[in-house]
């Protein structure tokens, strides 16, 4: 891959590494990965597989016990690493981010990040209003409202705007749609797609939701017990239902259906992945397609 934006080499992280061996917990073991600039990648795995630990290395919240992490050309655990600058470049949204809102107006909350960056008043204003629009909260309507009177989904997007206002090159989202209903989820994705397309931001998703990952991500990394056990395009990863099962994961329902049909003898080519492809294949008259 040429010019990957994030590289990890032999990344290992052990919690409480300087304590006695019974207290040490290996959260990540020898992770080697590369993330392409401008892509949308997803890290999947069961709770406790190390997903959150991994992404927290990308913005310097955690330091590797051994190995290196290189973000945008700069090594994260180098001696003089500018963590403040790194955290502007890598915007991170944790789970249920609506719980971190605290200012009196939406504008003030979104401006919290840019203010820390010591930008001029005007620059901050432009950034905040842009970020609000990008996150689907038209600033004329929302900027002066109190965050706490908004719906859960809207509050979540205020938190997203807060991160976008710092103009990050990389956006890390930990379970971004947890707890939202179908509408809320669809809305969130549409804004995410737009951000990716219009601003060329590299997106790193950490998710349980296989369907979400299947639609958004270009590339998947599968973690299990701190090890990187599989990676690839969603199509190929989800075709390996058995392997996923042994790691406690399930493929999206449609992939599961296709795998089951293949097991039961139907000749379905492995490229078939989306609903449309499956429909056009299966709606052909039986004889014709059995002949294939």
């Amino acid at each position: 891959m040429k010019d990957p934006i994030i590289i990890t080499k032999n990344l290992t992280h052990i919690y409480q590494a300087n304590q006695s061996s019974s207290l040490r917990k290996a959260a990540l073991v020898d992770i080697n990965l590369e993330i392409a600039r401008g892509s949308c990648i997803a890290i999947i795995g069961v709770t406790g597989s190390g997903k959150s630990t991994l992404v927290q290395h990308f913005n310097g919240l955690l330091r590797p016990t051994s190995g290196t992490v290189i973000v945008n050309g700069a090594e994260v655990n180098a001696k003089g690493a500018d963590l403040l600058k790194l955290r502007q470049r890598v915007g991170m949204l944790f789970q249920f981010p609506e719980s971190q809102l605290f200012e009196r107006t939406v504008y003030a909350d979104v401006a919290f990040g840019p203010r820390r960056m010591k930008l001029g008043r005007r620059e901050i204003r432009t950034r905040v209003l842009n970020a609000l629009d990008m996150a689907g909260l038209p600033h004329r309507e929302f900027a002066q409202r109190t965050p706490f009177e908004l719906s859960g989904g809207q509050m979540r997007r205020v938190a997203l705007a807060g991160v976008l206002a710092m103009s990050p090159t990389i956006l890390v989202l930990d379970e971004p749609t947890a707890g939202l209903d179908a509408d809320g989820r669809a809305e969130f994705y549409s804004y995410l797609q737009r951000i990716k397309q219009e601003q060329g931001v590299t997106i790193v998703l950490v998710s349980h939701d296989m369907a979400e990952v299947a639609t958004l991500a270009d590339w998947l990394f599968v973690l299990h017990n701190g090890h990187l056990v599989m990676q690839g395009a969603p199509r190929s990863v989800y075709a390996q239902g058995d392997a996923l099962q042994q790691w406690g994961l399930a493929a999206p329902p449609l992939s599961e259906l296709l795998t089951l049909l293949r097991k039961q003898g139907l000749p379905i080519p492995s490229e078939i992945f989306t609903l449309e492809e499956a429909f056009s294949l299966l709606s052909k008259p039986l004889q014709l397609y059995q002949e294939k």
Binding site: L61, R87, S99, Q100, F102, F112, R116, F148
Partner: protein, 344 residues
């Protein structure tokens, strides 16, 4: 550290002390406190104190906790208490009978000046030592103990200079009396008893918390405070509040950690920047945290309502059962022995 707060310093075990009810242990502790107040009236009567120390030793041997372990937990505080109590000896009441007098030490000003020069010299060496080219001395400054000594020396030097300044007019041969330090019978008695009481009560309360789970303690305390309920005080509510606090502290710690990370990822900085910026970063922590806690409280209240919570007062105790033979025996033994000692 905070995650294990529900266990406190409880050490699981099956010794006699573990099997006693929390109420028994609480009552014994309370009883001993009052006992010591009574016993103190007869001066130079050692029996009660010897008996209580013997009781303590018996109790430790009957619990699953080693003497060494208990001493390790206690030693710092005990040392401090002793050092703090020592001055009592030297300031007796004028009416007390004198045991001994440490005669006034006479220092001449010349001697004092010499002491001051010595201190200053030592301090100067201390400051200059790291600048010597010997590499072994480089890390001199970093060593914690030596830094402490350095600070002490600096203080001494400052005081010394102060003394020098104030006494500059006094002739070198005149004397300063230091003392006399008078030690009386009464003050020795007070020191001994104070120290013994402190030791015994502290050790007993450590034993209490080490052999009783916090929940049992809460239930025991609630049961002992039953009379207060007749005075319409909300005893059960306090018990429930303590329990909820114990239950939620680990969860809240996790939440706080998560929040700190989230706000740091947004650029909050608690250690750099102007006071105003740091305060803002703190607000970014406190406000969401309190919000989250209030929401939790509201959710919890709804869930408990749905489970039929009512302030009735006839709650079953899960951890405190009724008194067994062992409890009665222990309580009566303690009472007998201690009251007997009063009359010896």
């Amino acid at each position: 550290m905070f995650k294990n707060i529900a266990l406190g310093i409880y050490h699981p075990g099956n010794s006699l002390l573990h099997r006693l009810q929390a109420r028994t242990k609480l009552l014994v502790l309370l009883y001993l406190t009052i006992y010591f107040i009574i016993a103190n009236r007869r001066v130079w009567h050692f029996a009660p104190y010897i008996v209580s120390v013997l009781l303590l030793l018996t109790a430790i041997s009957l619990s699953a906790i080693s003497f060494y372990y208990l001493w390790r937990r206690m030693r710092l505080l005990v040392l401090l208490a002793f050092l703090g109590a020592l001055p009592i000896v030297f300031f007796p009441d004028p009416s007390d009978t004198i045991l001994h007098t440490f005669g006034p030490l006479l220092f001449t000003y010349a001697q004092i000046h010499w002491i001051i020069y010595a201190c200053t010299f030592l301090f100067a060496i201390f400051i200059l030592l790291p600048f010597l080219p010997i590499p072994a001395l480089r890390s001199f400054r970093q060593h914690r103990l030596l830094r402490l000594i350095g600070i002490l020396l600096m203080l001494l030097t400052l005081i010394a200079i102060g003394i020098l300044w104030f006494t500059r007019n006094n002739p070198l041969t005149s004397t300063i009396p230091v003392g006399p330090l008078v030690v009386s019978y009464q003050s020795v008695w007070i020191l001994m008893t104070f120290f013994t009481v402190f030791l015994v009560i502290y050790a007993f309360s450590l034993l209490l918390t080490m052999t009783t789970t916090p929940i049992a303690l809460i239930e025991g305390t609630t049961m002992l405070l039953t009379p207060l309920r007749w005075l319409k005080l909300p005893v059960d509510d306090f018990a429930l509040m303590t329990l909820i606090a114990l239950r939620f502290i680990p969860t809240l710690v996790d939440e706080a950690e998560q929040l700190v990370k989230a706000q740091i990822a947004r650029g909050a900085d608690f250690s750099h920047g102007t006071i105003r910026e740091r305060l803002q970063s703190l607000a970014a922590l406190f406000i969401p945290f309190i919000q989250g806690t209030l929401r939790r409280a509201s959710d919890l209240a709804t869930a408990l309502e749905a489970r039929g919570y009512e302030v009735d007062g006839k709650q079953t105790r899960l951890h405190e059962k009724s008194f067994s033979l062992a409890d009665y025996l222990v309580m009566s033994l303690v009472a007998l022995v201690t009251i007997g000692a009063l009359f010896l």
